[in-house]
């Protein structure tokens, strides 16, 4: 799907040794596979089934998502800040598509 667009909010600056709040949202319909179209045919399931965030090569959060997650999945969590800057966000879609976004955390 071409309309998958991640939006990420990192804190403007973060201190090593402290937790930093991260907010992520990805535009996605999260089709549950339970709905039917106008002709009564089931619309096949198409969801983001996994979301991960890695920081400095270490896993922050690895989330499994089901159809009960709202459209445009929003996830908020905390990173333990070290001296690393790279934060890698990955969304895995049904059917095997993978969307990755890398952002820099300004540690100071």
């Amino acid at each position: 799907m071409s309309d998958v667009k991640p939006r990420i909010r990192l804190p403007r600056s973060a201190k090593a040794g402290q937790a930093a709040e991260v907010k992520t949202l990805v535009s996605h319909v999260m089709e549950t596979g339970l709905r039917k179209d106008a002709d009564g045919n089931t619309i096949p399931r198409m969801i983001i089934n996994r979301f991960t965030c890695e920081y400095g090569g270490e896993m922050v959060i690895d989330m499994a998502l089901e159809g009960a997650i709202s459209a445009n999945p929003y996830v908020e969590f905390d990173i333990m800040v070290s001296d690393a800057t790279d934060v890698v966000f990955t969304w895995y879609e049904d059917g095997g598509a993978v969307y990755t976004e890398t952002q820099q955390l300004s540690v100071g």
Binding site: E21, L34, R35, V60, I61, I69, Y74, E76
Partner: protein
Amino acid sequence: MFTRRDTMALGLGAATITLLPISVHAAADDAIAAYTGGASVTEGGVMITAPEIAENGNTVPISVEAPGAEEIAIYADGNPTPGVAVFKFGPAAGSHRASTRIRLGGTQDVVAVAKMPDGSFQQAAVEVKVTIGGCGG
């Protein structure tokens, strides 16, 4: 289309409420048992924050927190499929909490089950009243 979806969702919500005591609770219990591998689950140790009344079941904000937990799984026992999400916290996690937005088909209990490092499980539940269900029939 929107009107139809709403109508269907309302119908589904009503059906869910009617069925709740028999079949639907069992589905969530089965899902939780599958997650814990049959281990016993103690109450408490998990904080789950959700609105008491959700006007729109399509997007209900929910937060879970369990200090020290390895994983937190969320179940909605009145949905067509009870599983909602599983959060696994890695070594770079700054806390053992997460927030997201979920779909609820009707008024029901939302259950959070935390897996602790010693292999034990803890859970907490909160009831959310849903005015318009979010499962879209």
